[in-house]
């Protein structure tokens, strides 16, 4: 049965009680609770909280609550995401500051973090005049940010054991391909000859294992907050894992994330060479263009399998979202791109 989404009023009441308890506050007022779009499988609520502290001090916070509607296979728990955000912030990656780890107040795991103003909708970032300046700067900024992400010392933050990593004795490429193939075979409602071709191609060309790093896992437009001055914040760390840093650079170049600006492979704003140059100059790993190409093919397969996964949530009755239902028909665009990429190398 599809689970009914809580109303904003219900969420406001629960968050008010939670904040009052957590801050030991005299009073808390929660306003403007809104369910944000995006994050199709999980819920993100936006709200303002006015807290009257025990010492009489008043504080108004713009906050986000990230909650699990349901635990999704392969996604990290909210608790690990919270700690990952703390670690990324400590290493200078622009991320929202976490505010509080939640409890069972919302009937589902959640945490609170600061709300950062700005634009996440790709169509506006790529088309509106307001972001012309940002578009000029973004490619270099994205390279610099990824270099910082890949420097986050997850061991020091106690995260190494909590994040997914390569399978024992296997390279990140081999492991991730094995995982996505397994997911594909277990969820697909119909055969996909194009994906079979892609899996053959990828298996025959596995890149060697390099030095491991924290990989964001979903670094693309839609998960970045952009202002007129450029990138403000990196969101949605729930696919973060230990792996090959080339994976993030390639995912950013997957055609679906160009939102129609096909000639600008980096997020629809820039060229690969400029991304690579900025990444290496900012202390990122040495770029291997052949490995990045392999990961871009892999990325298209991965996004195609994610499309099927989201459609499955609709087909299995876990959600009645028209967005999830129609994403099933976006699988073909990844098949098309896979055929093009394989033909050219």
């Amino acid at each position: 049965m599809p689970r009914k989404t809580a109303t904003p009023d219900e969420v406001a009441a629960k968050l008010t009680a939670f904040l009052k308890r957590s801050h030991n506050a005299k009073s808390v007022r929660v306003d403007d609770v809104r369910l944000l779009t995006g994050g199709a499988s999980r819920q993100t609520w936006s709200f303002d909280a006015t807290i009257e502290h025990a010492d009489g001090r008043n504080e108004t916070l713009a906050l986000i609550a990230r909650a699990d509607q349901r635990q999704t296979v392969g996604l990290m728990t909210r608790e690990i995401e919270y700690r990952l955000l703390e670690a990324a912030h400590a290493e200078g990656v622009p991320v929202p500051r976490v505010h509080l780890m939640g409890d069972d107040s919302l009937g589902a795991p959640f945490f609170l973090m600061e709300r950062i103003d700005g634009e996440t909708i790709a169509r506006r970032i790529l088309r509106d005049d307001e972001y012309e300046g940002a578009r000029q700067k973004m490619t270099a900024q994205l390279g610099e940010i990824l270099a910082a992400v890949h420097r986050v010392p997850i061991d020091r933050h106690g995260l190494a054991g909590d994040l997914m990593g390569p399978l024992a004795g296997k390279s990140p490429a081999d492991s991730e391909l094995q995982r996505i193939e397994g997911t594909f075979r277990s969820i697909t409602p119909e055969p996909h000859p194009a994906f079979e071709l892609a899996i053959r191609w990828l298996k025959a060309r596995l890149p060697a294992s390099g030095e491991l790093a924290l990989v964001h896992g979903d670094f693309r437009l839609g998960n970045l907050i952009i202002g007129p001055e450029g990138v403000r914040s990196v969101l949605d760390w729930e696919l973060g894992h230990v792996g090959d840093p080339m994976e993030d650079l390639a995912w950013l170049c997957v055609r679906s994330w160009r939102f129609g600006n096909d000639q600008l492979p980096v997020a629809g704003v820039g060229q690969r060479e400029d991304l690579f140059r900025a990444y290496e100059a900012a202390g990122g790993r040495k770029i291997d263009p052949a490995a990045v190409h392999w990961w871009e093919v892999f990325g298209n397969l991965r996004w195609g399998v994610f499309c099927i996964m989201q459609a499955r949530a609709y087909l299995d009755g876990l959600s009645q979202s028209v967005e999830l239902a129609t994403i099933g028909r976006r699988t073909a665009e990844t098949e098309w791109e896979l055929l093009n990429l394989m033909e050219n190398g």
């Binding site: 809104r34 369910l35 119909e190």
Partner: protein
């Protein structure tokens, strides 16, 4: 046989209503979903107008790769048989027998055509940009 409007004409009315009345006037998540819903109507309209030709073309494409077979008459039977033949094509690809040479060329040609047909329905703008 039903009276006018035809299904396509009815769907066009729903599409127009969503595009002109709902999408511009409803903010936030609901407005976004109305945009998605209007796009779903467009996908359905394109599928209905192409379905017969595309299913037939896919069958003959599979004939070229797997060897000829008799095409079932009914639409439902045809869809079921197509799923089975696509499973057979996937098995062929996984076996490695279509990795190179003439077999590889034939399989690729067929897969390219069927994916193009899917995009003609789901995202024709992407094909125009390709």
């Amino acid at each position: 046989m039903q009276d006018r409007p035809t299904y396509d004409e009815l769907l066009a009315a729903v599409e127009h209503f969503l595009d002109t009345e709902i999408v511009p006037n409803v903010p936030g998540s609901r407005g976004f979903h109305a945009r998605v819903a209007a796009n779903a109507i467009r996908i359905i309209r394109r599928e209905l107008s192409n379905e017969e030709d595309q299913l037939a073309a896919e069958w003959s494409g599979l004939d070229a790769v797997l060897g000829p077979a008799e095409r079932p008459a009914g639409r439902k039977q045809l869809r079921t048989a197509l799923l089975e033949r696509n499973e057979a094509l996937c098995t062929l690809i996984r076996s490695g027998d279509a990795d190179d040479g003439e077999a590889a060329r034939k399989v690729l040609e067929h897969v390219q055509r069927t994916v193009r047909d899917k995009l003609t329905v789901s995202d024709p703008a992407l094909l125009e940009r390709s």
